[in-house]
Symmetry: C2
Subunit: 226 residues, 2 copies
């Protein structure tokens, strides 16, 4: 059973419903917290089973009593992070709500850049993901969009947020060193005059501004329910 698949989540939901408040604090919850701390601080590559175990003062083989694989841990981690997204409630109409939701989703993702690539691994079917989906669709449908349009809009905007988070964090040239290296590189490549001339805005994009530009264009282009 592949971690994160529909079948996997079905078993997972069943386990959650069955679960009694255990004595020593949920072990999986603690593992997830430790994993998130490692990932936030040192990136995804630093998240090894051995490292998590070390942090918890336990042998790495013990973790397999609580989590079936590293992949499964990553799936739990993703839904845990999605739990930080707050439901939109601007009261200013669907477009304002959509904008606020998008910005809030972005805020959460930028807070945990290392887990963003994991959002592309497959369907997001955890409780927090489904809650956000339900809220988003409800917002659009009660604003007058037909269900099929609501799906389209929801997917497009969500994918836009994930895509820009993914490309904004990886793509920007941080630090003065990388910036001068870039100038150096283009200085020796006269065959690309526009690329060279526009090196600064191209390579030091203001992520928030690009996000605002794209989101505005997208929502302008979508228009209003008709």
């Amino acid at each position: 059973m592949k971690a994160g698949s529909a079948g996997w989540w079905k078993a997972r939901y069943a386990a959650l419903a069955r679960q009694r408040p255990r004595a020593g604090g949920l072990e999986l919850g603690r593992i997830t917290e430790v994993a998130l701390r490692i990932v936030d601080g040192e990136g995804l590559a630093a998240l090894t089973m051995r490292r998590v175990a070390e942090e918890m003062g336990v042998r790495h083989t013990s973790l397999y009593r609580h989590v079936a694989s590293r992949d499964e841990l990553l799936v739990e981690l993703v839904d845990h992070v999605l739990g930080e997204v707050r439901p939109a409630e601007s009261g200013k109409g669907w477009r304002a709500d959509a904008e606020q939701s998008a910005w809030d989703f972005r805020r959460v993702l930028l807070g945990h850049p290392a887990i963003v690539p994991l959002l592309t691994a497959g369907q997001l079917l955890g409780p927090n993901a489904l809650r956000a989906r339900e809220t988003g669709l409800g917002l659009l449908i009660s604003a007058g969009w037909k269900p099929s349009q609501a799906v389209q809009i929801y997917l497009t905007v969500t994918h836009f947020v994930i895509g820009t988070a993914l490309l904004g964090t990886g793509g920007a040239a941080r630090g003065a060193g990388e910036r001068t290296a870039m100038t150096d590189l283009f200085a020796g490549l006269p065959q690309y005059p526009l690329v060279r001339e526009l090196a600064v805005p191209l390579n030091l994009p203001d992520g928030d501004q690009e996000f605002r530009f794209g989101l505005t264009a997208l929502l302008d282009g979508i228009g209003d329910p008709r």
Copy 2:
């Protein structure tokens, strides 16, 4: 020197310019081809140095004579794939050109789904990436967009194409098995009625249709140069 960084590419361009047509066919070119074949057929995880070497009838340690690391091989692979993108030449105005470029870029990415995640690793500074960038910016600027606007539009559309390719290939539920598993899952989750009702369009999105919808909205929202 981190593979794919500006400094790394500078050295790489210098090496390319210095290079004479070698006797036995470029070794790095052959390595890249073998790597692409593996990746296309079996995914990124199957691309190990040992596997590439085996495919070439050589010991894996020999590869390090031609490529400094696996990361470096991945960077070469990405630019190699970007070489498949064809320059747009519709002759029907900037918007038609932009649409055609976006669809062509999408076509290339869907042809090599396993390398799409690599596009988010950092700046794309290889010769094929810069050529595409130069062409795209030229197209926009000669259509009347100001350079700063051209950069904004170019980045937004490019990121949109990458983002949808990334999320479309990973997100869709392929196959009847996964589809019935999804139905099964939602049947047991009455707390998400909209998610359940709209399970089919949400989880079996037509990637091309979502792409068309989003691209149209984006370009509609961007409008024309003013």
